[in-house]
């Protein structure tokens, strides 16, 4: 029983990290079909933001909260810059965006290496996040619970924004039918920019959260980007719900495979499961029904 519960938490915890990493992607990839390989580097920027903020604000608790906000802004502004300068030029060539943003990722990584040095750095977790909580007889680190909660909050916030606010309405309209949205008076360009800002901002938040799990380095983002993209592929495009389910499912799957085999074989098994899953549902878990042949 204990082993089962602890596996469950390991999976949920991994899933919540994946979800944080994939939420922003679900927005940008779903909305514009833009494959942003630099998304991981936006996370890395968020993580280093936490590092810098901690150098200014001494109290670890306050600095974490400040970092979450500043991280969002840093990630968002980087995303906005990328959208305006490069991505807006290549909306009709999604595969090329992938390569261009990979170039951006390389540059950002090297920039981080030059500014902060190649060795990893640490961000102190606040005192109220140290230690573990007993849940169902199993000790769960508080930082893990915090990330789980943060992922839930981000998911809820994004879902509410999409559902209730005028911005969300515009975003959904643009996703569903770009041309119709445009003829209805929505500035799809402005919507794109805002979506990209929000999506990249969430990446920044994810980066700040990752500082709680271990030390951070310039290649932090590359560790997560592939899995995050898989989450979006499995989840289905343009739907937060799908991404959420997929993230948790992949997290649980990875954790249970790791439990029965080793971490490296688990990765391969998860990949096989995903390919098999796409045989059944090539459009992902949740998809917008469409008659388009694409």
């Amino acid at each position: 029983m204990d082993a089962l519960v602890s596996q469950l938490f390991a999976g949920l915890s991994l899933g919540s990290v994946l979800l944080l990493a994939a939420l922003g992607l679900a927005l940008t990839f779903g909305q514009m079909g833009v494959i942003n390989m630099a998304h991981g580097e936006f996370m890395m920027a968020g993580a280093y933001t936490a590092y810098v903020v901690q150098g200014i604000v001494a109290d670890a608790g306050v600095s974490l909260l400040v970092s979450l906000v500043v991280g969002f802004l840093v990630g968002g502004l980087l995303g906005l810059l990328l959208e305006v300068t490069l991505i807006s030029r290549m909306y009709r060539r999604p595969l090329d965006t992938l390569l261009v943003t990979f170039g951006v990722a390389l540059v950002l990584q090297q920039a981080a290496r030059d500014v902060f040095g190649a060795p990893n750095v640490d961000v102190r977790a606040p005192a109220w996040l140290s230690g573990a909580v007993q849940v169902l007889g199993v000790g769960v680190p508080k930082t893990r619970l915090f990330i789980l909660a943060l992922a839930a909050v981000c998911l809820a916030a994004l879902a509410l924004v999409l559902k209730l606010t005028p911005l969300g309405r515009r975003i959904r309209a643009t996703v569903q039918n770009r041309d119709l949205a445009e003829t209805s008076g929505i500035s799809t360009r402005a919507t794109d920019r805002l979506t990209f800002f929000v999506g990249s901002g969430v990446a920044g938040v994810a980066g700040v959260a990752l500082t709680l799990l271990g030390s951070i380095g310039p290649t932090l983002g590359t560790n997560y980007i592939v899995d995050a993209f898989l989450v979006v592929v499995v989840g289905g495009i343009g739907q937060l719900k799908g991404a959420a389910i997929a993230a948790l499912a992949l997290g649980l799957l990875q954790a249970s495979f790791e439990y029965s085999t080793t971490a490296s074989i688990a990765k391969v098994l998860v990949f096989v499961v995903i390919v098999a899953f796409l045989q059944v549902r090539p459009q992902g878990l949740v998809s917008v029904r469409s008659r388009s042949l694409a």
Binding site: L86, P94, L106, Q109, I237, A263, S264, Q279, P282, A294
Partner: protein
Amino acid sequence: MTARLRLWGGFAVAAVLLFVVAPGALSDFRLNLLAKFLCLAMVAVGIGLAWGRGGMLTLGQGVFFGLGGYLMAMHLKLADAGPGGVPDFMLLYGDGTVPGWWEPFRDPVVTVVAILVVPTGLAALLGLAVFKRRVRGAYFAILSQALAAAFAILLIGQQKVTGGTNGLNGFKSFFGFTLADPLNKRMLYFIAAGVLLAMVAATRLLMRSRYGELLVAVRDQENRVRFLGYDPAGVKVVAYATAACFAAIGGALFTPIVGIISPADVGVVASIAFLVGVAIGGRATLLGPVLGAVAVSWAETSLSEQFPSFWTYFQGALFIGVVAFLPNGLATLGQVWRRRRAGPGIREDESGQPDDGTPRSAPEASLPADAPADALPGRTA
């Protein structure tokens, strides 16, 4: 006729350069470097076929390159250990016994067959699974990348049988020829050059064939091809498997030439790095990928020796600059320039141009026709 003449002329020039000029002009060290670049160019030829002509952006060629390289490395390690011997790293990390699935690779014939069959078969299997379900575009790219990530992680994790992060290295001989002898190193270079030329010729034949036309048609208008009664999935699988085969051969030669194969050569970053040269040279052209790959590897070697951090910036800038602003690569620079000079609104009729393997349509039209952003999912309801 002039086109054919130019083609064979080009081949003759390339053969003279590779077989006479380079060995004469370069030191043993430089020649070995060039041999390494030629191996990377083999991967590029395959990518040019799959991506440039077939529109499949494969971000996981490192897997097939690595499979070829590791299969070869396994044989070399076993051969060095002698009959019944155990490779040194296994004594170090493992329990000193050779696992059963390693044993067949003591035999050189089995190894060569495996290098040709295993990666190609894996690509065909994966391609069938993915393309039959009409998973394409970005989704295929992401899946291929995930495959590369999983492969690298697997290699690192299974240190006892793969050497882990260090990879496999320290080979002494290559099918009985000692690698310490510079003469044998030269022989490896000649093998690499010959294989590369053969691959380019095979690709040229494939491009000019009926199949080549079909491949480009699938790239540009997959549904139209389907409605005409062809099976686009089959067409794609062939190109993907061919690319995998080329990559595997490149990897298999890379291992003895460089003397090491490690997860760093096969992972996500290495796999994408293969694309830089192809993109720069011109993805849809015949020679663009080869020249691009050699040029980029050469630039990497010479620049990163002196300015390690500068190279990464440069590589990033190359990706951004070439893909964003010159999507058809440097090979089409001339066309773009001529068109600019001809003034706006005037499109050159290029149908009269000699067919040198470049697409015969106007540059914009020869881009792999990615689905428009809103139709990207590439999925049927």
